[in-house]
C-alpha cells in the first residue's frame, strides 16, 4: 500500500464511522430507550389531521424531470472543466480556445433550454 | 452497316419512349408508333440479312461500346464490360424471327382497347429486349436484354392478362428470375474460368490482351475457349449451371408450369411474343454458350440432354392431348417441340444443329400463327375451350384455313417449315440415339393426333353454342387482321419450300460450331 491510498483509507474510516453512528443510535441504543406502541392512528399518513386521500405516489409535474435532464447534462459537462482547470497553465492558448468552445456550447445549450421554455417553473 | 444491330435494338426503345410522352387517349398515334417502330426494326433486320456475308461463319456487324471497367475484379485482373452487338448464322435467323413476329404482334395489338399506351410501351420494350438478346455479343449485354424482356413481359401479363394474371405474372417473374440468377452465375463463371485457364496456359496471351483481357465479350471468350479449352471439371459445373438455367427458361419438365400459366393468362399479342420468340431464348443460350464453349461437358452429358428432351417431348405431347384449352395445348405443344431441339443439340452433329436452328425459327413462326388464329377465334366466339368451339369453317373460313396450315405445319407436313426442321433434326438424332429418337417420333405422332383432333373439333364438326353466340355477329378476318396471317403463312411456306433462304445463313456457322464438338 502506498501513501496515495492512505488518504482514501482515511475517508473510508469516516464512512465506517458515519454508518456506525446511525446504526448505533438507531438500532442498538434506540430500542433500549424508546417506547414502541404503534397504533392505527399513529401509523397513518399525516395529512393535516384528515384521513389520507388516495395514494401519494401520483404523477408530478413534468418540470421536475426536465430539470433532472438538464442537471444530468450540465453536471457531467462541469466535471470536464475540472481537469482542464487543473492543467490549464500547461495548456496555454490552445486550452483556452478549446475550453471557450466548450463553454460556448454549454451556453448554447442553456439558451436553447431557455428559449424552449424549459426553465419556466410552474 | 456496322450500326445496323444497334438501330434494330434501339428503334423499339425510342418508340416506347415516344409513346410514353403521349396523351393517355391518343390510341391511334400509339398504335401507329408501335407498328412503325416494329416495322422499321424489322426492315433493318432485313437489311442485315441482305448484307450478311453468307459464307462467313464468324460474327458480323460487330459493334462494341465500352461501358465500364471493374478494376481488380478477380485478384488484380480488370474486367471490362461492354455493350457489344454482333450476329452470326445462328442469331441472325432469330433476329429475323423477332422482326416478323414483332410486326405481327404490333398489328395484333390494334385489338387492345384499354390502356393502349401502356401496352405499346411494354410491348416495345419487350421487342427491344428480344432483339437485344439475339443480337448481343457480350454476356452482360445479353443478360441486360434478358432482364428487359423479363420486366416487360411481367407487365404485359400483369396488366393485360385474364383473371388470374397476377398469379401468372408473379410466377413468370420468379421462375425466370431464378433462371437469370443461374445464368449470371454461369456467365461470370465462364468469364472467370476462361480468364484463369488462359493465364495458366501462357503468360504471353495474357500480355497480348493487356488490361482488356478479362472480358465478358463473347468474341473474346469464344476465341479464348478455342485457344485454351477449359478443363473438363470446370466445363462440367458450368454446364450444369447453364443447363439448370435453360431448363427453367425453356419451361422443360418439371419447370413448365409457369409457362402454361403465363400463356393461359396473357393476351394474344403477348402470347405471340412470348411463345414465338421469348421461348426460343433458352435454347439459343444452349447453342450459343454451351455448344460452343463447353464441348467436353456437352459430349460427356449429351445423353442427358437427349433424355431430358424426350421427357419434355412426351410429357408435352400427353399433356397437350389432355388440354381442353387452345392456349394450353399450344403451350404444351411448344414445350414438346423445344424438347426436340434439345434432343437435336444432344446429337452433336452439324445437321442436328442446323435442324435445331430451323426448328427454333419454324416453331416460332408457327406458334405465333397458332396463337394469333386462336386468339382471333376466341375474340369472336368468346372462348378458347376446344370443347365449346366447333364448325367455325363455315363462319370463319379464312381463320380456319390458316389454323389448318398452322397445325399442319407444326405437325410437319412437307412443304411447310416444320417438315424441313424435323427431318434434318431426326436424321442426326437417329444416328446417335436411335432408341431415344424413336420415342421422340412417338411424340411427333401424338402431336399430329392432338393438333389435328383439336383443329378438327374447332373448324369442322357441329357448330357449338359458344360459336353460335359469339356476340351475334361473327365476321371473318378483316384486312388488317388478315395481313399478318398471310405474311406469317407466307414465311412458313417459304421456309418449307426454299429452306435455303435460311440454310445459306445458318450452314457455315453451324458447320464451324459442329467442328468444335467433333460433329
Amino acid at each position: 500500500m502506498c501513501l496515495y491510498a492512505n488518504a482514501f483509507i482515511f475517508i473510508l474510516v469516516f464512512l465506517v464511522l458515519a454508518i456506525a453512528l446511525p446504526i448505533g443510535a438507531l438500532a442498538v441504543l434506540g430500542p433500549l430507550l424508546r417506547p414502541n406502541k404503534p397504533s392505527k392512528a399513529k401509523n397513518s399518513t399525516y395529512e393535516s389531521g384528515l384521513e389520507p386521500i388516495g395514494d401519494a405516489r401520483s404523477r408530478y409535474n413534468v418540470r421536475y424531470y426536465l430539470f433532472a435532464l438538464m442537471f444530468v447534462i450540465f453536471d457531467v459537462e462541469i466535471i470536464f472543466l475540472y481537469p482542464w482547470a487543473v492543467s490549464y497553465l500547461t495548456l496555454g492558448v490552445f486550452g483556452y480556445v478549446e475550453m471557450m468552445i466548450f463553454v460556448v456550447l454549454l451556453m448554447i445549450g442553456l439558451i436553447y433550454a431557455w428559449r424552449k421554455k424549459v426553465l419556466e417553473w410552474m | 452497316m456496322q450500326n445496323v444491330l444497334l438501330m434494330i435494338v434501339l428503334i423499339p426503345v425510342f418508340a416506347a419512349l415516344l409513346t410514353l410522352t403521349l396523351n393517355d387517349r391518343a390510341h391511334t398515334i400509339a398504335r401507329s408508333i408501335g407498328l412503325l417502330g416494329s416495322l422499321l426494326s424489322a426492315l433493318f433486320a432485313l437489311a442485315a440479312y441482305i448484307a450478311f456475308q453468307r459464307s462467313d461463319a464468324a460474327y458480323q456487324f460487330v459493334l462494341t461500346i465500352p461501358w465500364a471497367t471493374i478494376n481488380n475484379a478477380f485478384a488484380g485482373t480488370p474486367l471490362t464490360i461492354t455493350f457489344a452487338f454482333a450476329v452470326d448464322g445462328i442469331s441472325l435467323p432469330l433476329v429475323m424471327l423477332t422482326g416478323i413476329v414483332s410486326v405481327m404482334a404490333a398489328v395484333r395489338s390494334f385489338r387492345v382497347i384499354t390502356r393502349v399506351k401502356a401496352h405499346y410501351v411494354w410491348q416495345m420494350f419487350l421487342v427491344s429486349g428480344l432483339y437485344g438478346v439475339f443480337a448481343s455479343a457480350d454476356l452482360f449485354t445479353f443478360f441486360f436484354f434478358l432482364e428487359m424482356t423479363l420486366v416487360a413481359s411481367f407487365f404485359l401479363i400483369l396488366i393485360f392478362g385474364q383473371e388470374r394474371r397476377q398469379y401468372a405474372a408473379f410466377k413468370f417473374l420468379i421462375y425466370r428470375g431464378i433462371a437469370s440468377v443461374f445464368l449470371l452465375l454461369g456467365f461470370v463463371g465462364l468469364a472467370y474460368a476462361l480468364a484463369s485457364s488462359a493465364t495458366a496456359v501462357s503468360a504471353s496471351q495474357y500480355m497480348a490482351y493487356g488490361p482488356n483481357f478479362m472480358s465478358l465479350n463473347l468474341l473474346q471468350l469464344l476465341d479464348e475457349s478455342v485457344k485454351a479449352p477449359l478443363a473438363l471439371g470446370t466445363q462440367t459445373w458450368l454446364f450444369f449451371v447453364f443447363l439448370f438455367a435453360v431448363l427453367i427458361e425453356e419451361a422443360f419438365v418439371p419447370f413448365h408450369t409457369w409457362l402454361i400459366d403465363a400463356h393461359e393468362q396473357s393476351d394474344t399479342s403477348t402470347n405471340m411474343l412470348i411463345g414465338g420468340v421469348l421461348m426460343k431464348v433458352g435454347l439459343y443460350i444452349m447453342l450459343r454458350f454451351v455448344v460452343s464453349m463447353l464441348p467436353l461437358a456437352l459430349a460427356k452429358y449429351s445423353e442427358w440432354l437427349a433424355v431430358l428432351g424426350v421427357i419434355s417431348i412426351l410429357y408435352g405431347a400427353f399433356a397437350a392431348i389432355a388440354a381442353r384449352d387452345w392456349r394450353r395445348l399450344i403451350a404444351f405443344s411448344g414445350i414438346s417441340h423445344m424438347g426436340l431441339v434439345l434432343l437435336a443439340i444432344g446429337s452433336m452433329h452439324a445437321l442436328g444443329l442446323q435442324g435445331a436452328v430451323f426448328m427454333l425459327v419454324s416453331s416460332g413462326l408457327l406458334t405465333a400463327l397458332l396463337f394469333y388464329t386462336v386468339g382471333a377465334q376466341a375474340e369472336r366466339t368468346g372462348t378458347y375451350e376446344i370443347g365449346k368451339l366447333g364448325g367455325l369453317s363455315k363462319s370463319l373460313p379464312v381463320l380456319s384455313g390458316v389454323l389448318l396450315v398452322a397445325a399442319l405445319g407444326t405437325v410437319g407436313l412437307p412443304g411447310l417449315s416444320g417438315f424441313i426442321s424435323e427431318i434434318t433434326l431426326f436424321v442426326s438424332s437417329f444416328e446417335r440415339f436411335p432408341w431415344v429418337s424413336t420415342l421422340a417420333t412417338l411424340g411427333m405422332i401424338l402431336a399430329a393426333l392432338y393438333l389435328l383432333y383439336a383443329m378438327q373439333r374447332t373448324t369442322f364438326g357441329p357448330a357449338q353454342e359458344a360459336a353460335q353466340e359469339g356476340q351475334g355477329i361473327v365476321r371473318d378476318a378483316s384486312v388488317t387482321e388478315a395481313i399478318p396471317l398471310i405474311v406469317l403463312v407466307a414465311f412458313v411456306i417459304a421456309i418449307g419450300v426454299f429452306p435455303n433462304i435460311l440454310g445459306v445463313v445458318v450452314h457455315p456457322t453451324v458447320q464451324a460450331l459442329a467442328g468444335r464438338i467433333g460433329g
Binding site: V62, A68, L69, V72, I73, V76, I79, F80, P83 | -
Partner: protein, 102 residues
C-alpha cells in the same frame, strides 16, 4: 496482473447483471439503469487496465471520462424519450411498447 483480476471479475459481474437486467426487466427505468451498469462495467475495465495493465497510462481513465459524459447524454436522451412515451401511454412498462408488431 494479480491485482487486475478482481477488477475484471467485478466488471464481468456488473456487465452480466446489466445485460441480464436490460434484456429481462419490465420497467423501462430499470432497463436504462441496467444499460448504465453495462457501461460502467466497461469503465471499471478501462480504469483497471489503465492502472494495472501492461503499460499503465492515463488513456484508459480518459476513455472512462468520455464514457461517463456519453452515458450522461444517453441517459438524458433516454429519459426524455421515455418521458414522451410515458405521457402518451401512461406506462413505463416494456410490455406496453407494443403498438407495432415486435
Amino acid at each position: 496482473m494479480v491485482a487486475l483480476q478482481p477488477f475484471l471479475a467485478l466488471g464481468v459481474i456488473l456487465f452480466g447483471i446489466g445485460l441480464y437486467g436490460a434484456l429481462t426487466k419490465r420497467n423501462l427505468i430499470i432497463v436504462l439503469i441496467s444499460i448504465e451498469m453495462m457501461l460502467n462495467a466497461s469503465n471499471i475495465n478501462l480504469i483497471a487496465f489503465s492502472h494495472f495493465g501492461v503499460t499503465p497510462n492515463a488513456n484508459g481513465q480518459v476513455f472512462a471520462l468520455f464514457n461517463i459524459a456519453i452515458a450522461a447524454a444517453e441517459v438524458a436522451v433516454g429519459l426524455a424519450i421515455l418521458l414522451a412515451f410515458f405521457r402518451l401511454r401512461n406506462s413505463a412498462d416494456v410490455r406496453d411498447v407494443n403498438t407495432m408488431k415486435w
